[in-house]
Amino acid sequence: MIDYPAVVQYYEPWWIQIIKAIVIFAIILQLQPILIVGERKLLGRFQGRYGPNRVGPYGLATPLADIIKLATKEQFRPDTSIGWMFALAPVISVLTAVGAIAIIPFGDTQDIFGTDVGLYGIDVSVGPLFVFAMGAVAFYGIMLGGFSSGSKYSFLGAMRAAAQLISYEVAQGLALVGVIMTSQTLSLTEIVHAQEGMWYFIPQFLGFLIFLVASFAETNRAPFDLVEADAEIVGGYFTEYGGTRFTSYLFAEYINMCVVCLIMVTVFFGGWLLPFGINPPGWVDPFVVLAKTSVFLIFFIWIRATLPRLRYDQLMSFGWKILLPLATLNTLATAVIIVVTD
């Protein structure tokens, strides 16, 4: 049994909390343009072309041009839409996406100028539950956006999003239960500390695979991007959105992608830990986390370049008939092993 200590063993003044929040938010937000241009360039490479390479050196200023274009567009709202909901929905999406970052540990507690600072927004004692709570609220952003647009395509997209997110959240949550049982804690920093012997993707390999697949569905990425299937329902829930509101949805999608990758790294790939007994100084930790995350982000893009979109009934039967039983079996087997070996 792991003797887990109280979660917060130190006191942080309020101003450190604020500084941490701003720094983490700024860094994650600055990652999004890099991620967007990186995705477009990688997709190009996967298709035998360069991708954007005109604006700035190597096309790195392309997202800036995109933002200027989108931000200077007219704020447009259809007559049939419900005004306040239409404006609120993208805000919900962005807030929940950013909120989930608050609990991701980028490193251990560091001694910075005599003050103990944890390299994470906040270490809640219900880590994964907080993430799933944020994911569940994020779904309102999509649902309200599609519902209030007053367009059939938006509405269909929102309905698909509702069904898809609910179906895959179950499997995603169950896949994490195995890890939580093994580490005997819900705090993400404690989960990372519990992986010092072995990263959890080895004993929980099935759980990792299930979590990976469910994450694609949760973030509406290909091949599970039925929510925004442009061939059938134009753009899904954000069909009627344009300008900065559309940008908000776009950012929310990419931040969500970052969040699931960060969670995967934290829970299955040992967060800031390095293998082979390498123990670098504390300031390296965030870079380790970001490096591991970028590997998963590249994998997300690779999958997007490879797999075609699933049919709707395939999506549902895959989620309920394969992923959910597998996740349940994984949880059961883990429980049995823990009880037997304990």
Binding site: R45, G48, R49, Y50, W302, I303, A305, T306, L307, Q314
Partner: protein, 177 residues
């Protein structure tokens, strides 16, 4: 009384129902194969030309923008203003107004010359019939394919523009390339 199919019936062969464990395994293997395919594209490198910097070399018989020619030794225009090209043109984009050569002003080698020779490139379909129709090889199809402009009136090429050398040479493919 319901219809009875009789003793003879046809057996239909169907693939295994989707969603079974075997199907999942097959999907997994196919996914891996797909990932390999896309990754080998990355290894292979890019196949695109960066257009404004790198231009596609055209074949010698490529039909680009027209050119009018002069005799190299005398400097006289080859065009005698016969309007055969205008008659052959299916898009009706060539306008020729002929004038007589006088002993003082001698423009072409023949009896007459083209006082006005205009090609409306926004109508031209680059069929090359004008080149075929010309009895003196005065008009030929060049290799220039960059002809976009901001105004339609700028696409009406006059005789001076057609006689002049192109500003930028279009790359030409060597024989056998």
């Amino acid at each position: 009384m319901s219809w009875h199919p009789g003793d003879e019936h046809v057996t239909v062969m169907r693939p295994p129902a989707p969603g079974a464990a075997g199907g999942t395994y097959r999907v997994f293997a196919e996914t891996m194969r797909g990932l390999k395919t896309t990754f080998s594209r990355v290894v292979e490198g890019v196949h695109t030309l960066q257009y404004p910097e790198q231009k596609t070399a055209v074949y010698p018989r490529f039909r680009g923008r027209h050119r009018l020619h002069k005799f190299e030794d005398t400097g006289l225009e080859k065009c005698v203003g016969c309007s055969l090209c205008a008659a052959a043109c299916p898009a009706d984009c060539i306008r020729v107004v002929a004038a007589e050569n006088t002993p003082d002003t001698r423009v072409s080698a023949g009896e007459r010359y083209a006082a006005v020779y205009e090609i409306n490139l926004s109508r031209c379909i680059f069929c090359g019939y004008c080149e075929v129709a010309c009895p003196f090889d005065a008009i030929t199809m060049g290799n220039d394919y960059e002809m976009s402009d901001y105004q339609r009136s700028d696409l009406i090429f006059t005789k001076e523009m057609l006689l002049a050398e192109p500003v930028e040479r279009t790359p030409l493919r060597a024989d056998g390339e």
